[in-house]
Each structure stands twice: as structure tokens, then as C-alpha cells.
């Protein structure tokens, strides 16, 4: 039977003390909200750094795969996808 891999979360350098230095962790979650909840379970303190009032912190964006997630916490993930927390980008 094929193994279904969980989303892979890339941990920003300032948060790596919370993961004992791990740069990439596999975390279950059908959407970003669930991924963050599960991150918090494994690495307490994560949620406070990523969220404010159950939304992503202002100025923070999340990329699922190669695309910036337009639905924020509600963005669907999927097996094997990469998740990156990045500065929000505007433009001129």
C-alpha cells in the first residue's frame, strides 16, 4: 500500500528553537488552520508566533506548494505539499 505523506512545513529560522533546530517537519492537516493546530501540539508556542485572533499574523503569508495561499487559514493543503511561512508581499 502506498504511503500518503503529510504536508511538509518549512520552519522559518527564528522559529527553529521551538523545533529543536529542525528545518522541515511533517504535520497532518487538511487546511492551514489544522496544520498550525497540530504544529502547536508538537511544538508549543508555534501558534502564538504565527497567528493573531485565529488569523495569520498581519504581514505574514503562507505558501502552499509554489503558490501563496489566498484563503489563509482555510487554504486546503494535501499530501506531500510544502508549506512556507513568508512575509506578505505587496507591489507597486
Amino acid at each position: 500500500m502506498a504511503t500518503i505523506n503529510m504536508p511538509r512545513v518549512f520552519i522559518p529560522p527564528p522559529m527553529r528553537p521551538l523545533t529543536a533546530g529542525e528545518e522541515v517537519v511533517e504535520v497532518a492537516g487538511a487546511n492551514i488552520a489544522q496544520v498550525i493546530e497540530n504544529l502547536e501540539q508538537r511544538f508549543p508556542g508555534m501558534k502564538e508566533r504565527l497567528c493573531q485572533d485565529d488569523a495569520l499574523r498581519p504581514g505574514l503569508s503562507v505558501a502552499v506548494g509554489d503558490s501563496v495561499a489566498t484563503l489563509g487559514m482555510l487554504q486546503r493543503t494535501g499530501p506531500d505539499v510544502e508549506i512556507h511561512f513568508l512575509p506578505a508581499i505587496g507591489g507597486g
Binding site: 518549512f10 520552519i11 522559518p12 529560522p13 527564528p14 522559529m15 508556542g45 502564538e48 508566533r49 504565527l50 493573531q52 498581519p58 504581514g59 505574514l60 505558501a63 506548494g65 509554489d66 503558490s67 501563496v68 495561499a69 489566498t70 484563503l71 510544502e82 512556507h84 511561512f85 513568508l86 512575509p87 506578505a88 508581499i89 505587496g90 507591489g91 507597486g92
Partner: protein, 756 residues
Amino acid sequence: MATAENPKYKVIGTRPVRHDGADKVTGRAKYGADIKLSGMLYAATLRSPHAHAKIKSIDTSKAEALPGVRAIVTSADLPAQGDRIVELGEGAANMRHLTANVLAREKVLYKGHAIAAVAADNIHIAEEAIKLIEVVYELLPPVMDVRKAMAADAPILNDDIRTASVGSAPAAKDSKPTNIAKHFLFEKGDIAAGFAKADVIVEREFDTAMVHQGYIEPHNATALWNTDGKITVWMSTQGSFSARQQTAELLKVPISSVKVIPTEIGGGFGGKISVYFPPVAALLSKKSGRPVKLVMSRASVFEATGPTPGSHMKVKLGATKDGQLVAGEAWIAFEAGAYTGSPIGPACMCVFACYDLPNGRVEGFDVCVNKPRTNAYRAPGSTHVAFATETLVDEICEKIGMDAADFRIKNAAKEGVRRVDGPVYARIGMVETVEAIKNSDHYKTPLEGKYRGRGIASGFWFNCGLKSSASATVNPDGTVSLLEGSTDIGGSRVGIAMQLAETLGITAEEVIPTVGDTDSAGYCDVTGGSRVTFATGIAAIEAAKDIQRQLVERAAMIWEVDVAQISYRDGGVHGPDGKFLSFKEMAGKLHATGGAVIGRGTSSAATQGGAFGTHCVDVEVDPELGKVQILRYTAAQDCGTAIHPSYVEGQIQGGAVQGIGWALNEEYWYDERGEMRNATYLDYRIPTCYDVPMIDTIIVEVPDPQHPYGVRGVGEVPICPPPAAIANAIYAAVGVRMHDLPMSPPRLSAEILKKK
């Protein structure tokens, strides 16, 4: 030739006359300064003469007593905001800072900071009244340099700022305030091991001056606060919905009570996203009971709106002698201006974005200084860092004896490459833009002559998706009225109309596009991030598909068949037994088949792929004067699919010219008191037609798979390569490596003298 990646279109790729062309060339188009309302008052703004001071008191009594003065506002009239952070569609705003930037509260943080505004019967009375307002200041030392502002003993601008980062721990409550508002860190691979593999390492420090977007039309707003509580604002803005939200948040009124009517816009380039005047004009209107108009002076546009930051950067690159990049490191500090918000995040993400770099480390800082609060400017942050990286690439190429185009092709980012900030690229066109330059007539033609040199450089921008809406109403004569809410800066109206026309199989001229106000059009995020042709285009395509579905249902009724037997293609509905009705024929049957057909579409889930450009420039340097003449310029850019090639070319040319100005002349020139000494177009020198040759363009089309027609944003990338391309050309001409912008005659001649 049409291919799977570049299919053949009927409307897309053609060059129809723009729908707003007649109004623009006859002067009938309405701009903000053209607004005149019955009983309208004119307002003027009192601005700080100091770069850094506490406001001890403001006395408006003498101004109020001047005949003809109808209302005066200060920050006391604006609601307190507390520590609110508000998402504004394209980035978040700290409302405490935003309101203090509109009208200073306890402190002024830059020369030109607005303090009070007066509405009067005419502008002359308003300007006289401004002089009668008495402000008592306690002067504070200004800090104008980004590195000095980072020092532990630097004067602090904002007591509420603590350094924040993506994923950093919250600051302790008893921590000291700082000017370093943000810190970013990105890492990939093993930086030490990477540099250990390098045969050549170059490391340089770079400084770039603060520069302005240089739009020709100044900021303006006319507001009417009606007795029913409704506020109407006419203004020049890059985003009427963002302006509505900012105005409502600043005034603490419901968003539905504010209506923003966007006028035509005379340039923005990122500088017309933040609001300055609408809440002030609205409050003056509320106090006076009359509509109030504010138009900014050119000096205030320079001193008090949102230029792009100056910067200090240290960048290091390593490569093997056969031309393989092995490691890169960057330390970047940006001047945020008075309040946090420089584009340091994107700068960090762009600095090595053109390359497949196996090992990288990037650190960035957003630093408050006593200059105006910075705003976006075309590919915010990317031009600064492209100047650094691309000149280092040129130096590496010289040291290992490799052609600069070949080096870039060998190391170019491509699909599957992981950026230093983490994500992996989808289909992109960096390689194709370098190849386009390498194969161009320009690059193949030898450059001859003394003090002449050629340089190339590349640049990257992400491009944004964000949210857009459009609706389209079918008219009985076979035309379509298209309504959308994206203010049209660079010809987007026609580009969006063409996508709707392509989808319906009609001509661009048969679409009548209108940019609506916030009560008429569906929500659209700002016109910025090179997003409108992409995202509002998708919304228009969806609206067209909605029309298709409705026309199929109408045809099923006419032919008395099931809808499954009907399809919409090639400009009409096709039914069984060869039945066909064109779009125009179906439009003629609207009223007989049920009335209006209105399509609607939204775009919220799409995100764009990034875009790349590579430029080639020939220069001639006057070694005595240090003046640089641009002899020839060619810009190649991946545009996905060029909807209207003329406007794609125009965007590339405009961006390149702005980049040339940034490279050679433009800079905010401050004295030791923090006063800008060149706040006019006489002294702040943007390029004119006498300074630049025709910018040749090469449109490279690598369609973005995330758009139905493959569109990529165009507007921002072309400003990124020019400073580095020109620096590299200057080196080729006179053997001087320039590490500071602008490379103005005094600065370049000094470097040439040093070399002698």
C-alpha cells in the same frame, strides 16, 4: 506559430485602440484636480518645518478668526486608533501609525509631516490661514542614515516599536523601543560549505538613495460628508476599495458609509495606495457642511508621501572557475521612513531570486529614520537588491573570463529550483529572457568607441494575484458593458476587455469597459503588484463564461433542445443539426428570451507565477564630467502572454526609463537638519526624452499556467535591471565599479578621479 504553450488567439495579441483614448488625448478625461462641486471649499495643509520634534501645543484661534475660513482640523479631530493592525488587501497597516502619518499627533517625524488643515472659500485664504496657526515644538535630533538609526544610542522615533520577525517571539513588555522594526532571516543549504567550494568570491557594500515614484499627477481628494452620514470621496488612487477601507478605518465609520469614486490617475507606481487627504477632506467637510478639495503641492508630494527607501547592503557571491554559483550571502537594511513598512521582506526574497543558488543566507532590517514613510514602488525592494547582486555577477564573470549572458543562462533559476526563502519555482522564463538578449541584434552588434561600454543585468518580481471582480451586461446590439473596479493606470481597461472579448468571440471594440466606484463595482484589490491584467482579467473571463452559460440556456429555449446539446464556441452558440446563432444574434433576442443577461466573475484563488527580465545597455561616459549617455537600450521580459503588445511594450519602456533615472540621477538630497533640498522637478532630476533613446523591447512569452490565457504581470519587473546593467556598462566603459546609487556625474567623476 501557434503551439500548445502559445495557442492562436483572435483578440489577444492584437493592438486595438484603447477605449479611453479619445478622452485622454482631447483632455476630457476627469482627473482629481478637475473635480468641482457646488459650494466647494479649498483646503491647505500646515506641515512641519522640522524633521523630528515633539508637538507641545497647536493654537488655531488666529486662523479661525480669518474671514473666509470655514473649518480647521488637527489630529485631535481624528479618532484614536490604539494598537490596531488592519489588513488592507495588499499588506497590513498599523492604524496608530497610519493616523499619525495623516495628521501628526504627539510628534512630527519628518519635514513636511502634516499637522493641520484649513478649509476656506478659496485656496489663497486657506494658505494665509495656515500661516496663522501657531505650533510650539520641542526639537529632537533627527536620524537620517539607516546604519546610524540602528545604533543603540540612536534617537528613537516611535516608542511603540519593537523588532518583529516572521515567527519571532513577541517582545517582552519591558523591552526598550528601537528603530529596527523588522528583522528577516532566510537560509538555504550550508553557507560555509558553499563558499568553501568557491574559486572566486566577491563581496561589496552598496548604498542607494531614497527615490520617489515621480508620478506627474499630485495626490488629491475632494470629499463631501453629507448630512445623512454618507461620505463621498473623489480621488486619484490605485485602489478605490483600499482607499475606502483606509478612510473608514481612520474615521472609525462603517465601511458602507464611505463611497470612493476613482478619477483617472496620472501615475502611481505604488505611491497612490496609502491615503493622505481623504479623511482630512472628509472631516473638513463635516465641520463646514460643504464639499472640500485638497490638492498636494509638488514639494509636499516629495516630502510627505511615500517614496521608496534608501538602503545599505552587503552582498557576497561565490562561484567556481567554470562559472557555477555555489553560495550567496546578503545583509540588507532599508529605510522605512518615519513608520515601519519598507519592502525589506520582498527585497530579501528577491536578492538571489534569478539564480539557482545551492547555499544562501539573507538577513534584512526595516529601520525607521526621519524621512517620509516609504511606500511601494514598482517591484518594491527588488531594484535595490538587483543592483547589488547583478553587479557582483558581472564582477565574477570578469574574474573567471566568462560571458555575462552565458553565466546567467548556466545559473538561471528555472522550474523546480528552490529559492533561498523556501518555495520552489513553477514554470518561469528567466533563461528565455537571457537567451533573448544573447540572440538580439543589440548584443550581437559590436560596440565601438572610446569610453563606451555595454552591460547586462536581470531582475525578478513575484507578481500578485489577490482579489478582483467584474460584471458584464449584454446589450441588445451585440456589445457588452463591462464593469470592474480596478483603477486603470497602464491601459488595463483595454487588456481586461480583450480577455472578455476573446472568451466571447467578439471584438475588443464591442466591449465597453467602465471602472466603477465602490458602490457600483464588485470588490477589487489595489492596482499594484502587476496583478490587474492577470486577476481582473480572470474575473472578466469568468463573467464571460457566465454569459456563455446563460446564452446556451436561451438557445436551448429557442431550439427546444436540451442544454447538453448546445455549446458556446467561436463567437456563438452551436446546436444540433448545424444550428448556429452568433453572439450578436443572441443579443438581439435578449428581450424575447427572458430579458437581461448579466455575467459575473471573481478571482480570488489564483496566484501568479513570477516574472523575469534581462536588459542590455550601451553607454558612453564623459570622463571629465562623469555624465553617462545611454546610447542603446534593449529590454527582454517574460510577459506570459502579451494581451495588448503595445501596452506591454509601454510598461517595459516606462519601467526601464524609471530605472535609468534611479540609476543615474534621482535621489532625495537631505541636509544635516533633515530637510530635503531638492523637492522640485528642477532639482530632483527624472529622465526626459532628451536623456534616453528608444527603449527596444523583446516580449518573451512563457505562459503562466495559472491564468487561462497565460498572462503574467508586466509592470514591475522592468525597473529592476537598469541600475545594475548601467553600472556594468560604466565599468566596461571606464573601468570603474560603482556601488552607490545614483551614479550621478559628481559621484562618477569622483570615482574616475580616484582611479587615475
